[in-house]
């Protein structure tokens, strides 16, 4: 099931893009970038709902009824949660809408990781699995094994640049930074320290950069390329819609413009 609906189409698409690009050095990296853009286009509705959800949560923070229940049930967390859920329901707000797209990325990330390692086939066993993955209509004999070189990286291995004898994991750092920036830009401002959704979003903005940075540090650098491009596109998307919350990143009181 996983193989049929995730791995096979992803691997096929990656190989097809790589072949279309001329299957030389650096082309698999470009294929991953184009693939990431394609994934971003496909998940555009999800991201739009993330923006919408974040906006709704932001507006809720300034709502009088919302602020009232925060004060009224400040010492009764259970009741406060019940009231918050009531308001979410009444106003059609999904408190998870802002983090759901990030979680939806997980199958894509795992699938992409497996597709990259399979496509690169650094072991006979991976190559055998690749042979099983290829659709009968695909002629890939001429392009495999793939050229895993991209810029200074081997996309099948974790990346680091040797500086004074120390391997600096530049991609992992960039992944963590861009993930942090993206999550900060999308995080709604909250004046209420007891707001659970705000706490959760804040927690996500700490955990996600760390975790994706850890992935980038330990796994094939092809996956780090995906993270970085995905994050940059996300940042551009938010910035383009004018909903990016720059105040979270740089401090100050600048709020995103309210577009409806």
């Amino acid at each position: 099931m996983w193989e049929t609906i995730i791995i096979q189409p992803m691997t096929t698409l990656l190989l097809w893009i790589y072949d279309a690009l001329g299957h030389g050095p650096h082309m698999f990296g470009l294929a991953i970038i184009l693939f990431t853009i394609l994934i971003k286009v496909i998940t555009w509705p999800l991201n739009a709902s993330q923006v919408k959800g974040a906006q709704a949560m932001q507006e809720l923070q300034n709502d009088k009824e919302w602020q009232d229940i925060q004060k009224k049930y400040a010492k009764d967390r259970e009741k406060l949660a019940q009231e918050q859920m009531r308001i979410y329901k009444e106003r059609g707000i999904n408190p998870f809408a802002s983090c759901l797209p990030t979680l939806v990325q997980f199958p894509i990330i795992i699938g992409l990781y497996q597709s990259i390692t399979r496509a690169l086939s650094i072991t006979p066993f991976d190559m055998l699995k690749l042979a099983r993955t290829i659709y009968p209509f695909q002629n890939v004999e001429g392009i495999i094994p793939l050229n895993s070189t991209f810029l200074w990286m081997d996309l099948g291995r974790p990346e680091s640049i040797q500086i004074l004898g120390f391997g600096l994991p530049t991609l992992a750092i960039i992944v963590a930074l861009t993930t942090y920036v993206q999550s900060k830009l999308t995080m709604p401002a909250s004046s209420n320290p007891n707001d659970q959704s705000a706490q959760m979003t804040k927690m996500m903005s700490i955990y996600m950069p760390l975790m994706l940075g850890w992935f980038a540090l330990n796994f094939a650098s092809g996956i780090a390329v995906y993270f970085i491009i995905s994050n940059l596109l996300g940042i551009v998307q938010y910035a383009a819609t004018g909903r990016a919350n720059w105040s979270n990143l740089f401090g100050g009181s600048k709020q995103p413009s309210s577009k409806k």
């Binding site: 497996q114 650094i122 072991t123 066993f125 659970q196 796994f219």
Partner: protein, 358 residues
């Protein structure tokens, strides 16, 4: 910790676990076994260990290393040298190339020639007291019999997954870069690079004046030692295992599960309608006019030279490792079976199986 936070952290941890389960790191953590044998023992590379197994009893004689080291992984086929060494390299996150005493399993020397950049998945060739060791980094390392680098590594290009072969004068190296490389060991230079149209994962078969090689281009080619070459047969699927030459007949199999016999004199197929129960990755072996083939479905098939099945046994697991004939036994090393090694006599009767102790 409240419920939402718990769910979130659990989801993140689950994601990390899933991705971690995919593998990772720079080493090879999963592949099939390598298998070799002499008159007394079988030698099987079994991931964390290389194990020697007594051919008479099927019992372990020794294992290397004595304790598992997760940084060392052995999948290549061990090679016995004329001066009594057993050579094998690691494909784990550490890549020493190791010489063992085949009787005791004691390490004679271990050197890292690749600065840990490439893994050892293929067996070396020993020629004129020099070891030619192919690596996944695309270099052929030249080592003397004492474990010292004898000459600069020869750059081949493309990962090397199979053992070089020699006609006594030239060395033939199959590469995943779609080429067969011919090397003059006297000068240490490549004399010919022949494009076969697809990756060549297994060793070619030596013949008079050249070699026969199958590739992922689904063709078998005859490559002369001067570099000229011609396609002599096409198959319906990738060719993974090495072809076997016997007099005027060439035997080979493909991933589609078909076994072929080609009459080299006429260029016609003797037969190609034999299709056992699964894809064939392992190479064929020929023993006393009987051909043995091990399928991915876990079946060992013995056939005569006319393509008639003499017997077949369901062994279990999956076969990717080429069987080995030693001490009147056919040895097979199934992948993901209840045992690592099994021995059959030429009539198909199981002599023993070997399951390593934890």
């Amino acid at each position: 910790m409240n419920t939402k936070r718990l769910i979130l952290v659990s989801l993140l941890a689950f994601g990390a676990l899933l991705l971690s389960a995919c593998g990772g790191g720079q080493g090879v953590s999963n592949n099939w076994h390598g298998l070799a044998a002499d008159a007394e023992r079988a030698y099987v590379s079994n991931g964390t260990f290389v194990q020697a197994v007594d051919l008479e009893t099927g019992r372990e004689v020794w294992r290397y290393p004595a304790e598992a080291d997760s940084k060392l992984m052995f999948y290549a086929t061990p090679v016995l040298t004329p001066d009594g060494q057993l050579l094998i390299g690691s494909a784990g996150t550490k890549h020493p190339f190791v010489s063992l005493n085949p009787e005791t399993g004691k390490e004679m020397w271990a050197e890292s020639f690749t600065q840990n950049k490439g893994a050892w998945l293929a067996s070396p060739l020993v020629l004129n007291d020099e070891i030619y060791a192919p690596n996944t980094d695309g270099f052929l390392y030249v080592i003397d019999m004492n474990g010292k680098q004898a000459a600069d590594p020869i750059e081949i290009g493309g990962a090397l997954w199979s053992a070089p072969v020699t006609d006594g004068n030239l060395i033939y190296v199959a590469s995943l870069d779609h080429h067969l490389h011919i090397i003059d060991p006297a000068s240490g230079t490549t004399t010919e690079n022949i494009d076969l149209g697809g990756a060549v994962p297994s060793s070619p078969a030596i013949a008079a004046g050249g070699v026969y090689a199958g590739s992922f281009a689904s063709t078998v080619e005859f490559i002369k030692n001067d570099g000229s070459h011609e396609v002599i047969a096409k198959t319906g699927d990738w060719i993974w295992g090495s072809p076997v030459l016997n007099n005027d007949a060439l035997y080979y199999a493909d991933l589609g599960g078909n076994i072929h016999s080609l009459d080299l004199a006429s260029g016609n197929q003797n037969w190609n309608d034999l299709k056992p129960d699964g894809p064939i990755v392992a190479g064929l072996i020929l023993v006393n006019d009987q051909i043995y083939v091990a399928t991915e479905a876990g079946t060992l098939v013995a056939m005569d030279r006319d393509g008639k099945i003499v017997w077949e046994k369901t062994v279990g697991g999956r076969f990717y490792t080429t069987p080995v004939f030693a001490g009147d036994l056919i040895l097979v090393a199934p992948y993901q079976a209840d045992f690592v090694l099994a021995a059959y006599d030429v009539d198909g009767k199981q002599a023993w199986t070997f399951t390593p102790e934890k």
